[in-house]
């Protein structure tokens, strides 16, 4: 028993030695009785690219940090509003680091308030376990806000570039220039699907998913609905739209009413066919499932923002024997739609479909602008990959964004 325990202690000891050797951190010198050397060249300056309530402090490491006595554990940073005043602790960083951002609050009533345009003095304390030494006091520094964030230039360039593309092609389109847009399988299927519903004498089901009216996917879907509704008015096929969001419902009602008016069949419009179901994800799914199984619609459209319910809807729709056309920009759900529906508008294709079906030359113009953006992206990819292969780092740095 005694031997056993002794043996396990030995093992443990051996184990710790192993760990210590393997991490090469054996330099812990037994000089704990001496304070580490203080840090030098303490410099305080306004933190760049911020709203003006933060000062950055930098210094040169103590000579006992990573070398010498090697006993620095942390650096503590102290601040005061006068060199003689009382210094209060603002925070600490572990040994090996030589900057600290003194981030204050912007609200006056906050205890951590750090006013702009007021001078402060800093001091850094190098600390070992129990002992410490202070640096000299820094020159005064004050915080102020900047009008432009220099780290975000790549984004600004991209914003300008893409906006110029879009506006150029919108202007060209307004002047009457027509642009070629290739056919998309899902869009081609729309007209056929409505025709099929007419032949079968069954309704069409249009689902926006769980998106609210402000989401881009929902906005794209409104445009597509406007076109689909016009067709259904021409073919005299009823269209059912159970809604998840009451605002989406109101907009959908107005869109469909306008489309029927445009098709010259305002008498066909039935407001009760566009109704609010519930705004609870799975309760909504259950409700839509019920409609599918009862009404057996000829065609189901799933266009908009979808989450986990995508597969349940698509599977139930296939039980009901409907043709299904889907499209979403929710990447995680695209696989389910691709696997379980007949046609899928993949991500960007959904927005393209909306521009395409909107039939306005201006919308097609922005699509053309979008393609120019894509060309720039592809070009940078190829150029960047080649540059990186030959060891040029500058190209990657062009895309580096400071957040």
């Amino acid at each position: 028993m005694v031997l056993d325990r002794g043996f396990s202690y030995l093992l443990l000891l051996a184990f710790f030695f192993l760990i210590l050797f393997s991490t090469n951190s054996f330099a812990q010198d037994p000089s704990d009785t001496l304070a580490p050397e203080s840090v030098t060249n303490v410099d305080a300056f306004d933190t760049p690219n911020d709203n003006g309530h933060s000062i950055t402090v930098s210094w040169e490491l103590s000579s006992d940090d990573g070398a010498g006595k090697n006993n620095v554990v942390v650096y503590e940073v102290y601040r005061s509003d006068s060199p003689e005043g009382k210094f209060e602790k603002r925070g600490m960083v572990p040994a090996g680091e030589n900057t600290f951002e003194d981030q204050g609050a912007k609200e006056k009533d906050n205890a951590n308030y750090l006013p702009s345009h007021k001078n402060f003095y800093y001091r850094v304390r190098a600390k070992s376990d129990g002992l410490f030494s202070d640096s000299e006091i820094s020159l005064p520094a004050y915080a102020y806000g900047q009008w432009y964030h220099t780290g975000k230039t790549p984004v600004l360039v991209a914003v300008i570039l893409f906006s110029v593309f879009a506006i150029t092609f919108i202007t060209l389109a307004r002047k009457g220039k027509l642009f070629y847009i290739r056919p998309l399988a899902g869009i081609e299927a729309v007209d056929d699907a409505i025709g099929r519903a007419t032949e079968m004498g069954k309704p069409i089901l249009y689902i926006f998913g769980l998106g609210t009216a402000d989401m881009i996917a929902t906005i794209a879907s409104f445009t597509i609905l406007s076109r689909v509704a016009k067709k259904t008015a021409e073919y005299q096929t009823p269209i059912l739209i159970p809604c998840y969001d009451s605002v989406v419902m109101a907009v959908a009602q107005e869109t469909v009413r306008a489309a029927y008016l445009e098709a010259g069949r305002p008498d066909m419009y039935k407001e009760e066919n566009i109704f609010f179901l519930t705004s609870m994800q799975f309760a909504y799914v259950a409700g839509v499932n019920g409609i599918m199984l009862r009404e057996k619609p000829a065609t189901n459209f799933y266009l908009g923002k979808f989450y986990a319910e995508s597969l349940i809807l698509a599977e139930t729709g296939s039980i009901a024997g409907s043709i299904q056309i889907s499209g979403t920009d929710e990447i995680a759900q695209i696989p389910f739609f691709v696997a379980a529906t007949d046609y899928t508008l993949i991500g960007e294709e959904l927005y393209a479909a909306s521009a395409y079906l909107g039939r306005e030359p201006v919308l097609l113009g922005t699509l053309k602008g979008q393609d120019w953006g894509k060309a720039v992206v592809i070009f940078s990819l190829i150029l960047g990959a080649l540059a990186a292969s030959f060891g040029f780092q500058f190209f990657i740095n062009l895309f580096r964004i400071q957040l």
């Binding site: 919108i170 906005i219 306008a258 799975f282 986990a308 597969l311 920009d329």
Partner: protein
């Protein structure tokens, strides 16, 4: 009033938020937080609107004794139960040990988790029905799914345990996830980014206005 004011609001708010991104100086830096809080408040009202519509429909059903009005009573009772207990508990209603937490844990959570779990069954039937090698694209889809699934189960391990490490099913699955899967994902993501940028721009410029509905 009905059309111009909303379009103006959209344009001003949208442009401001783009500018705010580049300008750290106040008051711009504050606008970001302010707008997102307002957004939260409006979105909360929109959800309350949904709840009101829901209650309206259900009360209506009970009042007119439409089919299934009994279930509407269940809905209304469930709503009242949670709201009354939640209001009574106060702002720390969600903490462990409160009676609201008990209701959440024993009623809401089982219902929600089971709804999600039902997906597993549908995945089974979808993989039976939909994963068929109809054409080249479908076959590629099928094979990728097949290898990734196989790479995560013991059978996959036993089938290929005779191969040297790094060539087994698990490594193949990881490789598919890390390279071809990531490549395709990036193409989709970049495409969506460009589409959103261009659609947002259309919205801000007032070209895309269907969200306001017809006139």
């Amino acid at each position: 009033m009905r059309r111009e004011v909303p379009l103006l609001i959209t344009a001003i708010v949208g442009l401001t938020l783009i500018v705010v991104y580049f300008v750290p100086h106040p008051p711009f830096s504050d606008l970001r937080d302010l707008f997102s809080d307002w957004f939260g408040v409006i979105a909360a009202f929109a959800i309350y609107l949904g709840i009101l519509s829901l209650l309206k429909i259900n009360v209506d059903k009970v009042y007119r004794k439409k089919s299934g009005w009994g279930f509407s009573i269940v809905t209304i009772m469930g709503f009242l139960l949670f709201v009354s207990v939640g209001l009574y508990e106060g702002s720390d209603f969600g903490e462990y040990g409160t009676s609201y937490y008990y209701l959440y844990d024993r009623i809401y959570y089982p219902l929600m988790a089971t709804m999600f779990a039902i997906l597993a069954f549908f995945i089974g039937s979808a993989s039976y029905r939909a994963f068929r090698a109809r054409n080249l694209e479908a076959t590629v889809l099928l094979l990728a799914a097949f290898f990734v699934m196989l790479g995560r189960v013991p059978i996959g391990y036993y089938l290929t345990s005779w191969l040297p490490e790094g060539f087994r099913m698990g490594s193949l699955a990881d490789w598919i996830m890390d390279y071809p899967q990531t490549a395709g994902q990036r193409a989709v993501m970049i495409g969506i980014a460009l589409g959103i940028v261009s659609t947002s721009l259309r919205v801000i410029l007032g070209i895309e206005r269907t969200f306001l509905g017809g006139e």
